[in-house]
Symmetry: D2
Subunit: 144 residues, 4 copies
């Protein structure tokens, strides 16, 4: 997988609040778009990952630092990185930039465990390990 | 089921937009709360209706007239009525009032078909027909 | 303004619900995107319309018919039409199609009044009347 | 202000996603409700704080750890604490519990700066300092 991936979204009216800027919880929706599009660019269709391979990338931690407000109609660039990839845990980092001038608006991170449909932790199947760049996982310290 | 049912919600910051009032799509979320609470008051737990009886009340039409804006922190009274109940189709009407002074803010309607988990139309089981007040459905014109 | 305008959105995970399809209120968010992009294609930046011209396109009615479910990761085509344009009232019609095969998923309509920042109705400024194709409004029956 | 404050919300259908549990960004909306209700219980109406005193509690950091999924129709108890209060910075901690059995579902934190309507940092007015328990702020190290 490449070092980082970029995709853009345009801020929706529904995402603003009465402060005149984007409501802070929406950044996490954008981070998810960054994640999905990064996977897609690496040949991973997350929809199929769920339906065909019974692999759900479940969020166990999320965090965001808000540096500058995002505003209605802004085009935002979501820069996504995998900061850690293990057979059972994935960690993503995000930078949110205003596309017009490259101003950094927010940074964030999410941590995920791989689960099946019933929410039970599992390891990434070999095909996905390769796509996530987990080439030599060795003994998995998170295995029971 | 009684003539109408009332429940209240307090407007969340997340529900406002940069116009300083509630974003119009959120009214439909409140209508759904009105529906759920009306069912609950009639002895129907919608969660169990889905999980135990494989009955999903799927929205096929929705409409809303916005008379006055709803604002952050307002307590809203959702008045819900069943305007038509057939074994396969339910119709609900809504009035949204400002709880403090009874001002009417919006009216709405939703139409629903009963479906199973896979989205196939089905009839309400007898127990629910009784609770919805469908006492004598007669031949169902929507049956194939 | 052209007969109709099309833009696309990809369904977000956040827009789905536990029925496994898109939650019905989100269609209205997409209709708004269709509206905004139609205006943009006609040379109207809605953001500036609000900030520079103190013209808010306030929703007074909305409705939607749901024909087929929209699903996660689907690319949707929003086809937007102006179905009526008067100096004080705008009416838009929408069709929502699955981009991959053109299947019609939903149709909808919204009605809007033009207001200033304080929510007082006003007429569209001449520049916008032209862009909305209101060439000869004649006496405005909604004027006081 | 008391040590902690509790309020409850019921999970809405709109808050679930196709994994069958609550979409992770919604926890931040609940944290905000916890915050608002904690302020209200201490005699602070946040709506008036914005409109009358031009004091906006702007989120600059947010984080959440998801321990167990929240599910549709669950009643959740939001336990909110002020973990740090300075004239210009507020820090809140949250625990999210399932009301029926007290199971801890998530913990979180948000950090806020006080701003005016234009987004410029300012200090809390004396009245609010007292209510937030900032009795002897001393020299403010965050002042320029």
């Amino acid at each position: 997988m490449t070092d980082f991936h970029e995709t853009t979204v345009r801020v929706r009216y529904a995402e603003t609040d009465q402060m005149g800027v984007v409501y802070h919880a929406n950044h996490y929706v954008w981070f998810e778009i960054g994640r999905t599009e990064m996977l897609r660019s690496a040949g991973i269709n997350y929809k199929e990952m769920e339906t065909r391979d019974d692999c759900f990338i479940v969020v166990v931690e999320s965090s965001c630092r808000y540096l500058r407000p995002a505003r209605y109609d802004d085009v935002l660039r979501i820069r996504t990185r995998i900061t850690d990839a293990k057979p059972r845990i994935l960690r993503f980092g995000y930078e949110l930039l205003k596309d017009s001038d490259g101003e950094l608006l927010a940074t964030g991170e999410t941590v995920h465990v791989i689960c099946d449909k019933l929410g039970r932790p599992k390891s990434l199947p070999p095909r996905y390990r390769r796509l996530f760049g987990i080439t030599n996982p060795g003994p998995d310290p998170t295995m029971n």
